[in-house]
Subunit: 342 residues, 2 copies
């Protein structure tokens, strides 16, 4: 391994000067500067980032703790983070916490121990995720996907608005019995989307029916079961808002098995992209979060915080309604002429 000492000898200067040239931390005579750079080139020297990290007490590494690496929303976030970090010269340690608060805690420790310079996290739980140790070390923490009170900054969409918009869309399509398949009750993001749903329902003067809201686990099987339950109701819903992408897959399967057609028998709107299924399901609408951009912005913000070029910010991006409806080919079977007041 080529060290700075080798370079300094080759260039006939001290290692301090080499360091100055390489980091630009002080002025150096142009001639010596050239000599140093030549030596660096000749020997193929590259700084040892571990030694640098130890000395500077700061690495060129950020950590990304995500909820579910098999969910395309998070992989897109991940890509955004990575691209953005790379441009700034940072590497990314990826941690997949799996919605598991213990696993997340373990990873938060690793992050500290590895001396990462900052963290981007999609918290497992808004209340229980504990980043106080990181903050005590003055490490910036940026929350994505779910708000975290104590975070240094965040990049989120307004999930209440998004939930309301999604529901409005169904209402606009003439739906009057709109069901919602939502995430775990303790999930703050899911709760926001559900609140938006309720808001829209209320605004439209529709009745809030307990049976029309089903809590599930944010996974395919949860969406499947929830949808089956909804289809068993005496009065079937004519609209369905599913609050995440993996559950939407389950919903689509349940509908297919039951022979319920979109949009003829029911209107459906999902949340987040289904890169694979979507191409094959032309009449599914959805609320799309700008996942890649969320990642990009989070990394940019984090690195600004690390460099202290920026005070913390809370960035709110817009979720976008992707409409892919077509007119139903016949009258939906559950659509009453007036809003039901049951």
């Amino acid at each position: 391994m080529v060290t700075m000492l080798d370079v300094s000898r080759e260039a006939g200067v001290s290692s301090a000067t080499v360091s100055r040239v390489l980091t630009g931390s002080a002025e150096v005579e142009p001639a010596t500067r050239m000599a140093v750079l030549a030596a660096v080139e000749k020997l193929g020297y590259r700084p040892n980032l571990v030694a640098r990290g130890l000395r500077r007490q700061a690495s060129q590494v950020i950590a990304l703790i995500i909820t579910d690496i098999e969910n395309p929303f998070y992989t897109a976030v991940c890509r955004g983070v990575e691209d953005s970090a790379r441009l700034a010269g940072y590497s990314v340690i990826l941690c997949n916490a799996d919605r598991d608060i213990e696993k997340e805690r373990e990873y938060l420790r690793v992050v500290e121990d590895q001396n990462a310079s900052g963290v981007i996290i999609s918290p497992a739980n808004a209340r229980r995720t504990d980043i106080s140790n990181l903050l005590a070390r003055r490490l910036p923490v940026i929350a994505v996907d779910m708000a975290l009170d104590s975070a240094t900054g965040s990049v989120l969409v307004d999930n209440k608005d998004a939930g309301a918009l999604a529901t409005d869309h169904l209402i606009g399509n003439g739906c009057r019995r709109i069901a919602c398949v939502t995430g775990p009750a303790e999930n703050a993001t899911a709760a926001d989307r559900l609140e938006g749903y309720f808001r829209a329902i209320a605004k439209a003067g529709l009745t809030k029916e307990r049976d029309l809201v089903v809590y599930a686990n944010y996974m395919e099987d949860g969406g499947y079961e929830a949808t089956k339950r909804l289809l068993k109701l005496k009065k079937r819903p004519d609209g369905l808002f599913v609050t995440n992408n993996r559950m939407t897959v389950g919903t689509l399967r349940a509908l297919q098995e039951a022979g319920v057609a979109i949009p003829d028998d029911i209107n459906v709107i999902g949340f987040d992209e289904l890169p694979w299924a979507l191409e094959l399901h032309p009449h599914l609408s959805l609320m799309r979060q700008p996942a890649y951009r969320i990642g990009q912005e989070a990394a940019r913000l984090l690195i600004d915080c690390i460099r202290k070029e920026n005070t913390a910010q809370h960035i709110v991006l817009d979720a976008e309604l992707v409409t892919r409806d077509r007119q139903p080919s016949r009258q939906p079977r559950n659509k009453p002429s007036k809003p039901s007041r049951s």
Copy 2:
């Protein structure tokens, strides 16, 4: 920050003793050992992995360089790597090289500079991916998904066999004009799958037709275009082997747009899972690689190599045929009564 020195003072011993207790590198009097552990506990001490890494010249970090983080095959590999690494106390730096040899090279440098202890890589290109620097540093490198001559070890499926099996399956279903949508010509893995296809075609006594093989880019749009091209042939194929998952999505869309039904009009077999689309496409068969297990084994093997508990190995896992056929509801329109000899 709590250092070893703090612990040593608290316990009334030297820092060397603390180190010995913590690393188990030498016997320590049970009493002092207890005192040290008590002090560690009391102060909440945790070793600084950066300092340790500098001193030991080896980190607890491995790098994972993958081809495409938006491809569920690789995310599953990634998950396997991560779970397995975590159990062994290693962290994972994730690098998404995007099939881009330059980006890959950049990441290979980062890996060196960050002093990772080893690398798992799905190479961008079997010939051009250059890991000689890593090997010169005696860092183990495990190849997955694509073989790499110089790699320390590898975890792969036999892609030739898998390609042949997939094709055999179509033949077994009665297909006689079987097309193949394959990956970029310079992609060794794609080439293997194609070779397997040719082998099966030859073995069955079918003719090898140039028009029936289309090279594409391993992405959705490539699969889409390739399939459209195949559908325009005067004599349409009655079977189709698509050599990766993202292209299969494009294929499905093209078939859908053209009103070509599976399996009535054409038999299709894909490669690797389509977690989302598959549930909605019940009659698509596929060759499934054990992606999660590939990742797991790769990490295990790598860590064994790092610890020198194991010499290099080349592990070959089986790809599995997932049959989801049903009998066509009517006679396929392109199926000749005898193998065509055009």
